[in-house]
Protein backbone atom coordinates (compact mmCIF):
# COMPACT_ATOMS: atom_id res chain seq x y z
CA UNK A 1 0.00 0.00 0.00
CA UNK A 2 1.13 3.49 -0.74
CA UNK A 3 2.36 5.70 2.06
CA UNK A 4 0.18 8.40 3.57
CA UNK A 5 2.19 11.31 4.94
CA UNK A 6 1.01 12.72 8.25
CA UNK A 7 2.68 15.99 9.23
CA UNK A 8 3.09 15.84 13.00
CA UNK A 9 1.77 18.57 15.28
CA UNK A 10 3.44 18.55 18.66
CA UNK A 11 4.35 20.89 21.47
CA UNK A 12 7.44 20.87 23.64
CA UNK A 13 5.33 20.65 26.76
CA UNK A 14 2.78 17.99 25.86
CA UNK A 15 4.44 16.10 23.00
CA UNK A 16 2.34 14.76 20.12
CA UNK A 17 -0.97 16.56 19.82
CA UNK A 18 -4.22 14.62 19.67
CA UNK A 19 -4.97 15.78 16.13
CA UNK A 20 -1.81 13.96 15.02
CA UNK A 21 -3.14 10.72 16.49
CA UNK A 22 -6.44 11.38 14.71
CA UNK A 23 -4.59 11.84 11.43
CA UNK A 24 -2.61 8.62 11.92
CA UNK A 25 -5.87 6.79 12.60
CA UNK A 26 -7.40 8.28 9.46
CA UNK A 27 -4.28 7.53 7.41
CA UNK A 28 -4.51 3.82 8.23
CA UNK A 29 -7.73 3.66 6.20
CA UNK A 30 -5.98 5.13 3.18
CA UNK A 31 -2.61 3.38 3.14
CA UNK A 32 0.50 3.00 5.27
CA UNK A 33 0.96 5.92 7.66
CA UNK A 34 4.31 7.68 7.70
CA UNK A 35 4.78 10.50 10.19
CA UNK A 36 6.72 13.58 9.15
CA UNK A 37 8.39 15.52 11.95
CA UNK A 38 9.50 19.02 11.04
CA UNK A 39 11.05 20.75 14.04
CA UNK A 40 14.02 21.46 16.23
CA UNK A 41 16.94 19.10 16.88
CA UNK A 42 15.93 15.79 18.44
CA UNK A 43 12.22 16.36 17.86
CA UNK A 44 11.53 13.00 16.20
CA UNK A 45 13.33 10.97 18.84
CA UNK A 46 11.12 12.40 21.57
CA UNK A 47 7.92 11.69 19.66
CA UNK A 48 8.64 8.34 18.02
CA UNK A 49 7.15 6.09 20.73
CA UNK A 50 3.79 7.85 20.61
CA UNK A 51 3.73 7.99 16.81
CA UNK A 52 4.49 4.25 16.67
CA UNK A 53 1.74 3.48 19.16
CA UNK A 54 -0.79 4.97 16.73
CA UNK A 55 0.47 3.18 13.67
CA UNK A 56 3.29 5.20 12.11
CA UNK A 57 5.30 2.62 10.14
CA UNK A 58 7.99 5.14 9.34
CA UNK A 59 9.08 8.54 10.60
CA UNK A 60 10.68 11.10 8.34
CA UNK A 61 12.48 13.82 10.25
CA UNK A 62 13.86 17.18 9.23
CA UNK A 63 15.28 18.90 12.26
CA UNK A 64 17.33 21.83 13.38
CA UNK A 65 17.52 25.60 13.31
CA UNK A 66 17.26 25.62 9.51
CA UNK A 67 13.76 24.19 9.94
CA UNK A 68 12.26 25.79 13.01
CA UNK A 69 14.18 29.06 13.02
CA UNK A 70 12.00 30.43 10.23
CA UNK A 71 8.30 30.69 9.59
CA UNK A 72 6.77 27.74 7.71
CA UNK A 73 8.58 28.09 4.37
CA UNK A 74 11.47 25.64 5.07
CA UNK A 75 8.97 23.04 6.25
CA UNK A 76 7.02 23.33 3.02
CA UNK A 77 10.20 22.98 0.96
CA UNK A 78 11.25 19.80 2.78
CA UNK A 79 7.76 18.36 2.53
CA UNK A 80 7.50 19.12 -1.19
CA UNK A 81 10.75 17.24 -1.84
CA UNK A 82 9.51 14.30 0.21
CA UNK A 83 6.18 14.19 -1.63
CA UNK A 84 7.94 14.16 -4.99
CA UNK A 85 10.15 11.29 -3.83
CA UNK A 86 7.68 8.94 -2.13
CA UNK A 87 4.55 9.76 -4.19
CA UNK A 88 2.20 9.26 -1.24
CA UNK A 89 -1.49 8.37 -1.53
CA UNK A 90 -2.34 11.50 0.47
CA UNK A 91 -0.82 14.21 2.65
CA UNK A 92 -2.54 15.10 5.91
CA UNK A 93 -1.83 18.15 8.04
CA UNK A 94 -3.63 19.65 11.02
CA UNK A 95 -6.28 22.22 10.23
CA UNK A 96 -4.67 24.83 12.44
CA UNK A 97 -2.68 27.94 11.56
CA UNK A 98 0.66 26.33 10.78
CA UNK A 99 -0.73 23.19 9.17
CA UNK A 100 -2.83 25.26 6.79
CA UNK A 101 0.13 27.49 6.00
CA UNK A 102 2.47 24.62 5.18
CA UNK A 103 -0.28 23.08 3.06
CA UNK A 104 -0.80 26.41 1.28
CA UNK A 105 2.83 26.59 0.17
CA UNK A 106 2.86 22.92 -0.74
CA UNK A 107 -0.20 23.39 -2.94
CA UNK A 108 1.53 26.17 -4.88
CA UNK A 109 4.84 24.34 -5.15
CA UNK A 110 3.16 21.20 -6.51
CA UNK A 111 0.30 22.98 -8.31
CA UNK A 112 -1.96 20.71 -6.29
CA UNK A 113 -5.48 21.19 -4.92
CA UNK A 114 -6.03 21.67 -1.20
CA UNK A 115 -8.97 21.02 1.13
CA UNK A 116 -9.10 22.49 4.63
CA UNK A 117 -11.25 21.81 7.70
CA UNK A 118 -11.75 18.21 6.66
CA UNK A 119 -13.63 16.02 9.16
CA UNK A 120 -13.63 12.80 7.14
CA UNK A 121 -11.73 11.29 4.21
CA UNK A 122 -12.75 8.27 2.14
CA UNK A 123 -10.29 5.90 0.47
CA UNK A 124 -11.21 7.39 -2.94
CA UNK A 125 -10.14 10.84 -1.74
CA UNK A 126 -13.63 12.23 -1.17
CA UNK A 127 -13.46 14.56 1.80
CA UNK A 128 -16.17 15.78 4.13
CA UNK A 129 -15.88 19.39 5.21
CA UNK A 130 -18.02 21.60 7.38
CA UNK A 131 -18.66 25.11 6.12
CA UNK A 132 -20.40 28.28 7.26
CA UNK A 133 -19.93 27.70 10.96
CA UNK A 134 -21.04 24.08 10.83
CA UNK A 135 -24.34 24.80 9.10
CA UNK A 136 -23.37 23.17 5.80
CA UNK A 137 -21.80 19.77 5.12
CA UNK A 138 -19.72 19.62 1.94
CA UNK A 139 -18.38 16.63 0.03
CA UNK A 140 -15.38 17.61 -2.03
CA UNK A 141 -12.35 16.29 -3.79
CA UNK A 142 -8.93 17.41 -4.94
CA UNK A 143 -9.10 17.19 -8.73
CA UNK A 144 -5.51 18.10 -9.49
CA UNK A 145 -2.72 16.16 -7.81
CA UNK A 146 -2.94 14.05 -4.67
CA UNK A 147 -5.38 14.54 -1.77
CA UNK A 148 -3.77 17.35 0.24
CA UNK A 149 -6.02 17.92 3.21
CA UNK A 150 -5.95 19.61 6.58
CA UNK A 151 -7.84 17.71 9.26
CA UNK A 152 -9.88 19.47 11.88
CA UNK A 153 -9.15 18.47 15.50
CA UNK A 154 -11.81 16.29 17.18
CA UNK A 155 -12.98 14.78 13.87
CA UNK A 156 -11.79 11.20 14.35
CA UNK A 157 -11.61 8.97 17.40
CA UNK A 158 -7.89 8.14 17.71
CA UNK A 159 -7.23 4.44 18.19
CA UNK A 160 -3.84 2.80 18.81
CA UNK A 161 -2.35 0.28 16.35
CA UNK A 162 1.19 -0.38 17.52
CA UNK A 163 4.01 -0.28 14.98
CA UNK A 164 7.76 0.08 15.31
CA UNK A 165 8.77 2.96 13.13
CA UNK A 166 12.28 3.51 11.84
CA UNK A 167 13.39 7.13 11.74
CA UNK A 168 14.81 8.45 8.50
CA UNK A 169 16.60 11.78 8.72
CA UNK A 170 15.91 13.92 5.67
CA UNK A 171 18.71 15.93 4.20
CA UNK A 172 17.53 19.46 4.28
CA UNK A 173 17.78 21.49 1.10
CA UNK A 174 16.48 24.78 2.43
CA UNK A 175 17.07 27.80 0.20
CA UNK A 176 17.64 31.45 1.10
CA UNK A 177 14.13 32.18 -0.16
CA UNK A 178 12.82 29.97 2.66
CA UNK A 179 14.62 32.04 5.28
CA UNK A 180 12.96 35.40 4.75
CA UNK A 181 10.81 35.33 7.89
CA UNK A 182 13.01 34.71 10.90
CA UNK A 183 11.59 33.59 14.24
CA UNK A 184 13.57 35.56 16.84
CA UNK A 185 11.62 34.56 19.94
CA UNK A 186 8.94 32.17 21.14
CA UNK A 187 7.00 33.22 24.20
CA UNK A 188 4.73 30.87 26.14
CA UNK A 189 1.69 32.42 27.71
CA UNK A 190 -0.47 31.17 30.57
CA UNK A 191 -2.47 28.04 30.04
CA UNK A 192 -1.34 25.83 32.88
CA UNK A 193 -1.96 22.12 32.61
CA UNK A 194 -5.31 22.40 30.82
CA UNK A 195 -5.80 20.67 27.47
CA UNK A 196 -5.58 22.78 24.38
CA UNK A 197 -8.80 24.51 23.40
CA UNK A 198 -9.32 23.04 19.92
CA UNK A 199 -8.38 19.52 21.04
CA UNK A 200 -10.17 19.32 24.38
CA UNK A 201 -13.05 16.86 24.89
CA UNK A 202 -14.64 19.33 27.29
CA UNK A 203 -14.68 23.11 26.91
CA UNK A 204 -16.08 25.46 29.55
CA UNK A 205 -16.51 29.02 28.27
CA UNK A 206 -17.41 32.27 29.91
CA UNK A 207 -19.06 35.32 28.39
CA UNK A 208 -20.02 38.85 29.25
CA UNK A 209 -22.14 37.52 32.13
CA UNK A 210 -19.00 36.46 33.99
CA UNK A 211 -18.58 40.15 34.72
CA UNK A 212 -14.83 40.58 35.15
CA UNK A 213 -11.45 38.92 34.76
CA UNK A 214 -11.29 37.80 38.39
CA UNK A 215 -14.61 35.94 38.12
CA UNK A 216 -13.15 33.80 35.34
CA UNK A 217 -11.71 31.71 38.20
CA UNK A 218 -15.19 30.19 38.42
CA UNK A 219 -15.03 29.16 34.77
CA UNK A 220 -11.52 27.76 35.27
CA UNK A 221 -12.59 25.84 38.36
CA UNK A 222 -15.45 24.11 36.55
CA UNK A 223 -13.17 23.41 33.58
CA UNK A 224 -10.59 21.81 35.86
CA UNK A 225 -13.19 19.65 37.59
CA UNK A 226 -14.37 18.40 34.20
CA UNK A 227 -10.83 18.01 32.83
CA UNK A 228 -11.58 20.60 30.19
CA UNK A 229 -10.18 23.67 28.50
CA UNK A 230 -11.32 27.22 29.13
CA UNK A 231 -12.84 29.33 26.37
CA UNK A 232 -14.28 32.81 26.19
CA UNK A 233 -16.79 34.65 24.03
CA UNK A 234 -15.74 37.66 21.99
CA UNK A 235 -17.61 39.94 24.38
CA UNK A 236 -15.58 38.57 27.29
CA UNK A 237 -12.30 38.91 25.37
CA UNK A 238 -13.10 42.41 24.13
CA UNK A 239 -13.91 43.40 27.72
CA UNK A 240 -10.48 42.16 28.77
CA UNK A 241 -11.78 39.30 30.95
CA UNK A 242 -9.67 36.63 29.21
CA UNK A 243 -6.85 36.48 26.62
CA UNK A 244 -7.67 36.43 22.94
CA UNK A 245 -6.15 33.04 22.16
CA UNK A 246 -9.02 31.47 24.10
CA UNK A 247 -11.73 33.17 22.08
CA UNK A 248 -14.31 30.80 20.62
CA UNK A 249 -16.31 32.02 17.66
CA UNK A 250 -16.37 33.29 14.12
CA UNK A 251 -13.22 35.34 14.63
CA UNK A 252 -11.64 32.98 17.13
CA UNK A 253 -11.22 29.25 17.53
CA UNK A 254 -13.66 26.68 16.25
CA UNK A 255 -14.19 23.91 18.76
CA UNK A 256 -16.08 20.68 18.49
CA UNK A 257 -15.79 18.95 21.87
CA UNK A 258 -17.92 16.20 23.38
CA UNK A 259 -19.20 18.69 25.94
CA UNK A 260 -19.45 22.48 25.68
CA UNK A 261 -20.49 24.45 28.73
CA UNK A 262 -21.52 28.07 28.08
CA UNK A 263 -21.59 30.30 31.17
CA UNK A 264 -23.04 33.79 30.89
CA UNK A 265 -22.92 33.61 27.10
CA UNK A 266 -25.96 34.86 25.21
CA UNK A 267 -25.18 32.86 22.07
CA UNK A 268 -24.75 35.50 19.39
CA UNK A 269 -24.09 34.17 15.89
CA UNK A 270 -20.47 35.24 16.29
CA UNK A 271 -20.13 32.76 19.16
CA UNK A 272 -22.32 29.98 17.79
CA UNK A 273 -20.14 29.88 14.69
CA UNK A 274 -17.30 28.55 16.81
CA UNK A 275 -19.07 25.93 18.89
CA UNK A 276 -22.34 24.71 17.42
CA UNK A 277 -20.92 21.41 16.18
CA UNK A 278 -20.16 20.41 19.80
CA UNK A 279 -21.73 17.07 20.66
CA UNK A 280 -23.48 18.11 23.87
CA UNK A 281 -24.11 21.73 24.85
CA UNK A 282 -24.99 22.96 28.33
CA UNK A 283 -25.77 26.58 29.16
CA UNK A 284 -26.25 28.71 32.24
CA UNK A 285 -27.63 32.19 31.67
CA UNK A 286 -29.84 34.50 33.66
CA UNK A 287 -31.80 35.54 30.56
CA UNK A 288 -34.24 32.75 29.70
CA UNK A 289 -34.68 34.21 26.20
CA UNK A 290 -30.95 34.03 25.35
CA UNK A 291 -30.41 32.32 21.98
CA UNK A 292 -27.86 29.94 23.51
CA UNK A 293 -30.82 27.97 24.91
CA UNK A 294 -31.94 27.19 21.35
CA UNK A 295 -28.76 25.09 21.04
CA UNK A 296 -28.43 23.74 24.56
CA UNK A 297 -29.23 20.13 25.34
CA UNK A 298 -29.59 21.24 28.93
CA UNK A 299 -30.07 24.82 30.05
CA UNK A 300 -30.29 26.43 33.44
CA UNK A 301 -31.93 29.84 33.64
CA UNK A 302 -30.34 31.36 36.68
CA UNK A 303 -27.49 33.28 38.27
CA UNK A 304 -24.22 31.65 37.26
CA UNK A 305 -22.61 32.84 40.50
CA UNK A 306 -25.02 30.57 42.37
CA UNK A 307 -25.40 27.72 39.87
CA UNK A 308 -21.72 27.21 39.03
CA UNK A 309 -20.32 27.01 42.59
CA UNK A 310 -23.13 24.60 43.48
CA UNK A 311 -22.34 22.47 40.41
CA UNK A 312 -18.64 22.49 41.32
CA UNK A 313 -19.45 21.38 44.86
CA UNK A 314 -21.72 18.60 43.56
CA UNK A 315 -19.00 17.30 41.22
CA UNK A 316 -16.51 17.23 44.10
CA UNK A 317 -19.02 15.27 46.20
CA UNK A 318 -19.43 12.69 43.48
CA UNK A 319 -15.69 12.23 42.92
Amino acid sequence: MAEVLVVVEATKEFGVKKVTLEMLTLARELGTPSAVVLGGSGAAEALSAKLGEYGAEKIYAAEGAEIDGYLVAPKATVLAELVKRVQPAAVLLASAQEGKEIAARLAVKLDNGILTDVVGLDADGTATQVAFAGSTIVKSKVTKGLPLVTVRPNSVNPTPAPATPAVEQLTVAVTDADKLAKVVDRVAEQKGSRPELTEASVVVSGGRGVGNADNFKLVEELADLLGGAVGASRAAVDSGFYPHQFQVGQTGKTVSPQLYVALGISGAIQHRAGMQTSKTIVAVNKDGEAPIFELADFGVVGDLFKVVPQAAEEIRKRK
Partner: protein, 259 residues
Protein backbone atom coordinates in the same frame (compact mmCIF):
# COMPACT_ATOMS: atom_id res chain seq x y z
CA UNK B 1 5.80 52.90 1.90
CA UNK B 2 3.65 51.49 -0.88
CA UNK B 3 1.04 49.34 0.87
CA UNK B 4 -1.56 47.13 -0.80
CA UNK B 5 -4.44 45.75 1.28
CA UNK B 6 -6.27 42.66 0.07
CA UNK B 7 -10.01 43.01 0.54
CA UNK B 8 -12.54 40.27 -0.09
CA UNK B 9 -16.27 40.69 -0.34
CA UNK B 10 -18.08 37.94 1.55
CA UNK B 11 -21.65 37.12 2.54
CA UNK B 12 -22.44 38.60 5.95
CA UNK B 13 -21.38 36.04 8.56
CA UNK B 14 -24.34 37.10 10.68
CA UNK B 15 -26.81 35.95 8.02
CA UNK B 16 -27.88 32.52 6.83
CA UNK B 17 -25.20 31.59 4.31
CA UNK B 18 -25.48 28.98 1.61
CA UNK B 19 -23.77 27.34 -1.31
CA UNK B 20 -25.58 27.53 -4.62
CA UNK B 21 -27.46 24.44 -5.75
CA UNK B 22 -26.55 24.91 -9.43
CA UNK B 23 -22.75 25.20 -9.32
CA UNK B 24 -21.80 24.72 -5.62
CA UNK B 25 -20.20 28.16 -5.30
CA UNK B 26 -20.89 30.63 -2.48
CA UNK B 27 -24.39 32.05 -2.88
CA UNK B 28 -23.84 35.81 -3.03
CA UNK B 29 -27.51 36.51 -3.56
CA UNK B 30 -28.97 35.09 -0.35
CA UNK B 31 -27.14 37.25 2.17
CA UNK B 32 -25.86 40.81 2.33
CA UNK B 33 -22.39 41.13 0.87
CA UNK B 34 -19.92 42.92 3.08
CA UNK B 35 -16.19 43.48 3.49
CA UNK B 36 -14.64 40.46 5.16
CA UNK B 37 -14.47 41.64 8.74
CA UNK B 38 -10.81 40.78 9.29
CA UNK B 39 -9.87 42.90 6.25
CA UNK B 40 -11.07 46.04 8.03
CA UNK B 41 -8.29 45.47 10.55
CA UNK B 42 -5.84 45.13 7.66
CA UNK B 43 -7.03 48.45 6.22
CA UNK B 44 -6.72 50.15 9.60
CA UNK B 45 -3.18 48.83 10.05
CA UNK B 46 -2.19 50.08 6.58
CA UNK B 47 -3.61 53.53 7.30
CA UNK B 48 -1.74 53.72 10.61
CA UNK B 49 1.54 52.84 8.88
CA UNK B 50 0.90 55.44 6.20
CA UNK B 51 0.14 58.06 8.85
CA UNK B 52 3.38 57.28 10.68
CA UNK B 53 5.73 56.66 7.76
CA UNK B 54 4.09 58.19 4.68
CA UNK B 55 3.29 56.41 1.45
CA UNK B 56 0.21 55.22 -0.30
CA UNK B 57 -2.51 52.63 0.44
CA UNK B 58 -4.14 50.68 -2.39
CA UNK B 59 -7.05 48.28 -2.04
CA UNK B 60 -6.85 45.13 -4.17
CA UNK B 61 -10.00 43.06 -4.64
CA UNK B 62 -10.75 40.10 -6.87
CA UNK B 63 -14.46 39.56 -7.25
CA UNK B 64 -17.56 40.04 -9.37
CA UNK B 65 -18.98 43.44 -10.39
CA UNK B 66 -20.89 43.81 -7.15
CA UNK B 67 -17.62 43.73 -5.16
CA UNK B 68 -17.29 47.36 -6.28
CA UNK B 69 -19.61 48.26 -3.37
CA UNK B 70 -17.13 46.82 -0.88
CA UNK B 71 -14.27 48.61 -2.61
CA UNK B 72 -16.01 51.98 -2.13
CA UNK B 73 -16.71 51.08 1.48
CA UNK B 74 -13.02 50.23 1.98
CA UNK B 75 -11.95 53.48 0.32
CA UNK B 76 -14.23 55.46 2.62
CA UNK B 77 -12.00 54.45 5.54
CA UNK B 78 -9.14 56.37 3.94
CA UNK B 79 -7.07 54.41 1.37
CA UNK B 80 -5.94 56.32 -1.73
CA UNK B 81 -7.08 54.11 -4.58
CA UNK B 82 -8.17 50.63 -5.55
CA UNK B 83 -7.66 47.91 -8.11
CA UNK B 84 -10.53 45.59 -8.92
CA UNK B 85 -9.73 42.36 -10.73
CA UNK B 86 -12.97 41.37 -12.40
CA UNK B 87 -13.55 38.83 -15.12
CA UNK B 88 -16.45 36.45 -15.78
CA UNK B 89 -13.97 33.60 -16.21
CA UNK B 90 -12.95 33.90 -12.53
CA UNK B 91 -16.26 32.47 -11.27
CA UNK B 92 -15.60 29.15 -9.54
CA UNK B 93 -11.88 29.72 -8.95
CA UNK B 94 -10.17 27.62 -6.26
CA UNK B 95 -7.69 29.03 -3.73
CA UNK B 96 -4.67 27.99 -5.77
CA UNK B 97 -5.94 29.81 -8.88
CA UNK B 98 -7.03 32.83 -6.84
CA UNK B 99 -3.51 33.17 -5.46
CA UNK B 100 -2.17 33.09 -9.02
CA UNK B 101 -4.41 35.99 -10.04
CA UNK B 102 -3.70 38.06 -6.93
CA UNK B 103 0.05 37.47 -7.28
CA UNK B 104 -0.13 38.61 -10.91
CA UNK B 105 -1.97 41.78 -9.88
CA UNK B 106 0.50 42.44 -7.05
CA UNK B 107 3.31 42.00 -9.54
CA UNK B 108 2.02 45.11 -11.31
CA UNK B 109 1.59 47.17 -8.14
CA UNK B 110 5.15 47.14 -6.74
CA UNK B 111 4.03 46.86 -3.15
CA UNK B 112 6.54 47.13 -0.32
CA UNK B 113 3.97 45.66 2.01
CA UNK B 114 0.85 43.58 1.39
CA UNK B 115 -1.54 43.38 4.33
CA UNK B 116 -4.58 41.13 4.55
CA UNK B 117 -6.91 39.62 7.12
CA UNK B 118 -5.73 36.31 8.60
CA UNK B 119 -8.75 34.55 7.13
CA UNK B 120 -12.07 35.27 5.46
CA UNK B 121 -15.30 34.57 7.27
CA UNK B 122 -16.76 32.57 4.36
CA UNK B 123 -14.06 30.02 3.55
CA UNK B 124 -11.87 30.38 6.65
CA UNK B 125 -9.21 28.59 4.62
CA UNK B 126 -6.34 30.82 5.84
CA UNK B 127 -4.02 29.93 2.97
CA UNK B 128 -3.91 33.05 0.79
CA UNK B 129 -1.03 35.02 2.38
CA UNK B 130 1.41 32.10 2.17
CA UNK B 131 0.27 31.12 -1.33
CA UNK B 132 0.87 34.67 -2.54
CA UNK B 133 4.21 34.95 -0.74
CA UNK B 134 5.30 31.63 -2.22
CA UNK B 135 4.48 32.84 -5.72
CA UNK B 136 6.12 36.25 -5.27
CA UNK B 137 9.17 34.89 -3.44
CA UNK B 138 8.70 37.32 -0.56
CA UNK B 139 8.39 36.85 3.20
CA UNK B 140 5.07 36.07 4.85
CA UNK B 141 4.50 37.22 8.42
CA UNK B 142 1.15 35.72 9.27
CA UNK B 143 -1.29 35.73 12.16
CA UNK B 144 -0.02 39.06 13.51
CA UNK B 145 -1.51 40.62 16.61
CA UNK B 146 1.09 43.39 16.51
CA UNK B 147 3.11 44.87 13.65
CA UNK B 148 6.08 47.23 13.98
CA UNK B 149 7.67 48.97 11.01
CA UNK B 150 11.25 50.24 11.35
CA UNK B 151 12.54 51.38 7.98
CA UNK B 152 12.49 48.28 5.80
CA UNK B 153 12.32 45.92 8.79
CA UNK B 154 9.00 44.45 9.82
CA UNK B 155 8.46 42.74 13.16
CA UNK B 156 5.28 40.96 14.15
CA UNK B 157 3.96 39.19 17.17
CA UNK B 158 2.40 36.08 15.72
CA UNK B 159 -0.37 34.52 17.80
CA UNK B 160 0.16 30.79 18.40
CA UNK B 161 -1.60 28.14 20.45
CA UNK B 162 1.06 28.35 23.14
CA UNK B 163 1.54 32.10 23.22
CA UNK B 164 3.24 34.13 20.53
CA UNK B 165 6.29 34.19 18.28
CA UNK B 166 8.29 37.26 17.38
CA UNK B 167 9.05 37.10 13.67
CA UNK B 168 10.99 39.57 11.52
CA UNK B 169 11.53 40.12 7.82
CA UNK B 170 12.55 42.83 5.41
CA UNK B 171 10.19 44.34 2.89
CA UNK B 172 8.75 43.39 0.49
CA UNK B 173 6.51 41.12 2.54
CA UNK B 174 2.98 39.86 3.08
CA UNK B 175 1.51 40.37 6.56
CA UNK B 176 -1.78 38.89 7.74
CA UNK B 177 -3.52 40.24 10.82
CA UNK B 178 -6.00 39.06 13.44
CA UNK B 179 -8.68 41.28 14.89
CA UNK B 180 -6.62 41.87 18.04
CA UNK B 181 -4.19 44.15 16.19
CA UNK B 182 -6.18 47.39 16.29
CA UNK B 183 -9.63 48.93 16.35
CA UNK B 184 -10.74 49.83 12.81
CA UNK B 185 -12.00 53.39 12.32
CA UNK B 186 -15.50 54.13 11.12
CA UNK B 187 -15.71 55.94 7.80
CA UNK B 188 -16.47 59.64 8.31
CA UNK B 189 -19.03 61.46 6.17
CA UNK B 190 -16.12 63.24 4.52
CA UNK B 191 -14.44 59.91 3.91
CA UNK B 192 -17.57 58.49 2.31
CA UNK B 193 -17.89 61.49 -0.01
CA UNK B 194 -14.18 61.41 -0.89
CA UNK B 195 -14.32 57.68 -1.66
CA UNK B 196 -16.73 58.33 -4.52
CA UNK B 197 -14.02 60.23 -6.39
CA UNK B 198 -11.07 57.96 -5.65
CA UNK B 199 -9.64 56.09 -8.63
CA UNK B 200 -10.65 52.44 -9.04
CA UNK B 201 -8.80 50.64 -11.81
CA UNK B 202 -10.34 47.48 -13.19
CA UNK B 203 -8.12 44.73 -14.51
CA UNK B 204 -9.17 41.72 -16.55
CA UNK B 205 -7.38 38.40 -16.81
CA UNK B 206 -5.98 39.60 -20.13
CA UNK B 207 -4.44 42.62 -18.41
CA UNK B 208 -2.74 40.27 -15.97
CA UNK B 209 -1.52 37.77 -18.53
CA UNK B 210 -3.47 34.91 -16.94
CA UNK B 211 -5.31 32.55 -19.29
CA UNK B 212 -9.03 31.92 -18.60
CA UNK B 213 -8.30 28.17 -18.56
CA UNK B 214 -6.02 28.64 -15.54
CA UNK B 215 -8.89 29.92 -13.38
CA UNK B 216 -12.59 29.36 -12.79
CA UNK B 217 -14.04 25.86 -12.97
CA UNK B 218 -11.67 24.93 -15.82
CA UNK B 219 -8.57 25.68 -13.80
CA UNK B 220 -9.86 24.54 -10.41
CA UNK B 221 -7.66 22.12 -8.46
CA UNK B 222 -10.51 20.95 -6.26
CA UNK B 223 -14.25 20.53 -6.63
CA UNK B 224 -17.31 20.51 -4.42
CA UNK B 225 -19.25 17.34 -5.25
CA UNK B 226 -22.33 17.99 -3.14
CA UNK B 227 -23.50 19.92 -0.13
CA UNK B 228 -26.31 19.66 2.37
CA UNK B 229 -27.61 21.83 5.17
CA UNK B 230 -27.15 20.35 8.58
CA UNK B 231 -30.51 20.35 10.39
CA UNK B 232 -30.53 23.13 12.99
CA UNK B 233 -29.96 22.04 16.57
CA UNK B 234 -33.01 22.00 18.73
CA UNK B 235 -32.87 23.00 22.36
CA UNK B 236 -33.36 20.33 25.00
CA UNK B 237 -34.46 20.65 28.59
CA UNK B 238 -34.47 24.13 30.09
CA UNK B 239 -34.97 24.56 33.80
CA UNK B 240 -35.15 27.63 35.99
CA UNK B 241 -32.85 27.65 38.98
CA UNK B 242 -34.83 27.54 42.19
CA UNK B 243 -31.90 26.72 44.42
CA UNK B 244 -31.01 23.33 42.94
CA UNK B 245 -29.85 24.43 39.44
CA UNK B 246 -26.23 23.46 39.99
CA UNK B 247 -27.11 20.01 41.28
CA UNK B 248 -29.53 19.40 38.41
CA UNK B 249 -26.86 20.48 35.96
CA UNK B 250 -24.46 17.91 37.38
CA UNK B 251 -27.19 15.25 37.32
CA UNK B 252 -27.56 15.88 33.59
CA UNK B 253 -23.77 15.70 33.12
CA UNK B 254 -23.75 12.44 35.07
CA UNK B 255 -26.42 10.85 32.87
CA UNK B 256 -24.29 11.83 29.86
CA UNK B 257 -21.25 10.35 31.66
CA UNK B 258 -19.24 13.56 31.83
CA UNK B 259 -19.07 13.29 35.62
Amino acid sequence: MNIVVLVKQVPDSGADRNLRSDDNTVDRGSANNVINEMDEYAIEEALKIKEAHGGEVTILTMGPDRAAESIRKALSMGPDKAVHVVDDALHGSCAVATSKVLAAALGQLNADLVICGAESTDGRVQVMPHMIAERLGVAALTGARKLTVDGATLTVERQTEEGYEVVTASTPAVVSVWDTINEPRYPSFKGIMAAKKKPVQTLSLGDLGVAPTEVGFDGATSAVLEHTKRPPRSGGAKITDEGEGGVKLVEFLATEKFV
